[in-house]
Amino acid sequence: MARQPNWSPWQEVRRLQRDLEHLFERGNLAPRESEYPPVNVTHTPDGLIFVEVMCPGADKGTLELTVAGDTLTIKGERKPEEGVADTRYRRRQRPMGPFTRTMRLGDRIDTDAVQATYAHGILLVQLARVPEATPKRIAIRS
């Protein structure tokens, strides 16, 4: 490969880093962010936003959603098995404890139009954008 006059090894390193990031994005088993719980967000053309939250076994009484401005906060808790001593465990892989996830959705949210369901361990939140103010022509009085 012919070297460009302004070739810099750091540029190559950065390019490699970008390529690696893309590679890991495609292998989507590992969450892109280490925050729990992981979320998927979809914006629809008609102004709705769907947030899917993967939080199996969350205690329904502890699940709490808050919307303010463009920010959605999800709180909940996975409670450990009651009355089972640590020494009884032969295998322990499931994360436990309280969790909080806050995300900015990029649009102002209509706080009156938030709906949520929790089914099969997936919390599905439907939100609606506040419609943009429509331009208004102002008549000028003489």
Partner: protein
């Protein structure tokens, strides 16, 4: 009621014959009376879950249904689940019970009656 982030008017869901299969995160603990297996299987509806035993193998299998359109921002992708456990010979496969709630499968595997402490009646002389 939200129904999901699907294409408006488009095909809603697809059955994932080609979905990847992963091993679910699992806890296993032992009590006096048996073993309990708890597995995270988010996205699996009860009718798409299978728990089977064959010989000393206990197999769990769950299939997910995913949205037809990929999300704009993705941090997880639902995949089918499969895992096989080997039953020890001190358990009673006939009395295994399983329940699925909020994407969490819970299986109780009782120990055989012969293993559990038992009081022996004394025959009258």
């Amino acid at each position: 009621m939200p129904t999901g982030p699907h294409d408006p008017g488009g095909s809603r869901l697809r059955d994932d014959e080609d979905a990847r299969t992963v091993i679910p995160a699992t806890d296993v603990f032992e009590t006096e009376t048996g073993f309990t297996i708890v597995a995270d299987m988010p996205g699996v509806a009860p009718e798409r879950l299978e728990v089977t035993t064959e010989g000393d193998a206990l197999t769990i299998r769950g299939r997910v249904t995913r949205a037809s359109r990929p999300p704009d921002h993705r941090e997880f992708e639902l995949a089918d689940y499969a895992q096989t456990f080997t039953l020890t010979d001190d358990v009673d496969p006939a009395r295994i019970r399983a329940a699925l709630k909020d994407g969490v499968l819970r299986i109780t595997v009782p120990k055989s009656a012969t293993i559990q402490p038992r009081r022996i009646e004394i025959d009258p002389a």
